[in-house]
């Protein structure tokens, strides 16, 4: 069982995906061309008898509107006068005014104000402060980088890209800009370029999880399934917890790759390399055991259960279970680890998403159970 629902194509999901289908912009020149053609048309005489009717209607509507406006204005004036006469005082208007971006001379102050405005959701003003910071000190990469972020929030992908470009001209190894440029390319549908950009990130920051994941995703969107599969596996070598790890497991399942599986240890879901645990090299096995050890320590007092499956081979299932148990007990730092194993000569049946069942000839199930104290209460 995984933290996230298995990926089923139910109608709600399909409707949402149709809703999210992007639309392309019409060519820039089209609306002008249309209006030129419209202007060249003879005046719309329509049915002449309708025009006076519409004209009257519009006058009637306008009169109503005027009346509403007059009532609102009059009401506001009366209300204000009443307030003044009741309180004997007009409310004071006070405002703590922010400095105008153009008035600032300290680039760091301008930058910090921009960050504040961005956090407050005022992207336009944030952009002005960031521009001022960049103008005052164009050598600080962070200022241009955040300018890019503000542009992205405003939906201006072209300017976002240019901002990162400016940073990278001065600081070609500035990882945040390298990474966000990759995101920009991915979001713009330039998948091949995005893959190349994430490769650049990984050259400078090997193992960067976001770059690894998105490179795999970009490969998937390019239709390069083999590269995508490998990419998600590489990502999972470094990231075993959280939403994106779970998502990577789901992507692999679509490729019929069940090597990585998510198990609940205590309150947390952790992704384990099952193949490494059962039949991997010593180093691979120890890495998984270390992960388990750490997870169990965080979970508190609990029993850890391993269930090993080997289709039609009870001896093998028993061997794998006992071998794993020995390795875990020998390697785990947590000496109080309460480990129980069982084994079956049957395949492990799992839910592989979209209502499909999958049969794994050789696999492992991991789960934990809270320990009960002497009074029979759970200690977790």
């Amino acid at each position: 069982m995984t933290m996230m629902d298995s990926k089923k194509w139910h109608n709600d999901k399909i409707r949402q995906a149709i809703r999210d289908i992007p639309e392309t912009e019409a060519p820039e020149w089209l609306d002008e061309r249309i209006m030129r053609a419209i202007s060249a048309q003879p005046r719309n005489t329509g049915c002449s008898y309708r025009r006076p009717v519409r004209a009257v209607r519009s006058h009637v509507i306008s009169a109503v509107r005027v009346l509403v406006v007059v009532l609102l204005c009059g009401g506001s004036f009366w209300g204000g006068m009443h307030f003044v006469s009741a309180t004997g005082d007009l409310p004071e208007i006070t405002a703590g005014q922010l400095p105008r971006p153009g008035d600032l001379v300290d680039p760091q102050a301008s930058f910090l104000l921009g960050r504040g405005m961005l956090a407050a959701g005022n992207e336009e003003l944030a952009l002005s402060y960031f521009h001022q910071a960049v103008q005052l000190d164009p050598t600080v990469a962070e200022y241009s980088y955040w300018t890019g972020i503000a542009y992205w929030r405003l939906g201006n992908m072209a300017e976002e890209r240019q901002s990162y470009g400016r940073v990278l001209q001065q600081s070609p190894e500035y990882i945040p800009s390298l990474l966000n440029l990759g995101h920009n390319l991915l979001q713009q549908g330039e998948y091949a370029e995005a893959v190349a950009q994430y490769d650049t990130v990984l050259k400078h920051a090997p193992g960067n999880p976001r770059a690894l994941y998105n490179k795999a995703l970009a490969s998937l969107l390019l239709g390069q399934d083999a590269a995508a599969e490998q990419g998600f596996m590489t990502f999972l070598q470094t990231s075993r917890q959280g939403k994106w790890a779970e998502r990577a497991v789901q992507h692999l399942e679509r490729f019929d790759n069940f090597r990585f599986r998510s198990f609940r240890v205590g309150a947390a879901y952790i992704v384990f390399d099952v193949q490494a645990l059962l039949t991997g090299s010593k180093a691979e096995q120890m890495a998984e055991i270390a992960l388990l050890d750490e997870a169990v320590q965080r979970a508190g007092e609990c029993e850890v259960h391993f269930v090993v499956y080997a289709e039609n081979d009870l001896a093998r299932a028993k061997y794998l279970a006992n071998d794993l148990k020995e390795e875990v007990l020998a390697t785990a730092v947590n000496t109080g680890l309460d480990l129980k194993t069982s084994w079956f000569d049957a395949p492990l049946e799992i839910d592989a998403g979209q209502g499909r069942k999958k049969s794994l000839a050789e696999s492992l199930l991991i789960f934990t159970r809270a320990k009960k104290d002497n009074n029979g209460r759970s200690s977790i």
Binding site: W9, I21, D31, Q187, G189, A226, R247
Partner: protein
């Protein structure tokens, strides 16, 4: 202040032709996209879009106040698209070849990428549906029109519209599952 479609129509009918530009700006994109899905060519789609707005301008006095202008305009567009298709035997454009519009830090953007992947698969599946079934689904769920409006625009009965939507979703569902199975078989054969 945002003026209603009806206010704009009134102004145009009163002789203020320049206000028609507001309607063009408001509805150009969905109409252009519809035409592009049929024609598969920028120039062709632009020509067809222009035809639609010209036709709408000429017939503006037939628009009934109280109805949706978008539905009225879209019906003109669907009919123009059908006419074009009858006269042209072109291969339909794959939705997958669309230029991508940018949507919307970190987890927000990441969710966009993941949704894009789902969208990509749904688009491929939509592409394999009969053309009008595809357009009916897009009109209903992308443009969020009521079933009654869909029926009106495509000039079919309400029950026919409901049936085609239901069948369209079922067919889409099957295509997506098939796409998953094909992907897995492809990987297993490597």
């Amino acid at each position: 202040m945002h003026e209603s479609d009806e206010d704009i129509v009134e102004k145009v009918l009163a002789g203020r032709t320049e206000f028609f530009a507001v309607l063009v700006q408001r509805y150009e994109r969905p109409v252009y996209n519809l035409m592009f899905r049929y024609a598969g060519d920028v120039e062709e789609a632009a020509d067809l879009t222009q035809d639609v707005f010209l036709a709408a301008f000429r017939r503006l006095d037939t628009f009934r106040f109280g109805n949706s202008l978008f539905s009225w305009l879209y019906a003109i567009a669907v009919n123009r698209a059908r006419d074009w298709l009858r006269k042209n035997n072109r291969n339909r454009r794959s939705l997958h070849e669309y230029a991508h519009e940018s949507w919307q830090e970190d987890d927000d953007r990441q969710n966009v990428f993941e949704a894009r992947e789902d969208c990509s698969r749904v688009r491929r599946a939509l592409d394999r549906l009969p053309l009008e079934t595809r357009e009916i689904l897009i009109l209903r769920y992308r443009h969020e029109r009521t079933v009654a409006e869909v029926a009106g625009i495509f000039d079919i009965s309400l029950s026919a519209a409901k049936m085609r939507l239901k069948r369209g979703l079922t067919a889409l569902h099957k295509l997506l599952e098939q796409d998953d199975d094909d992907g897995q078989q492809k990987m297993a054969q490597r």
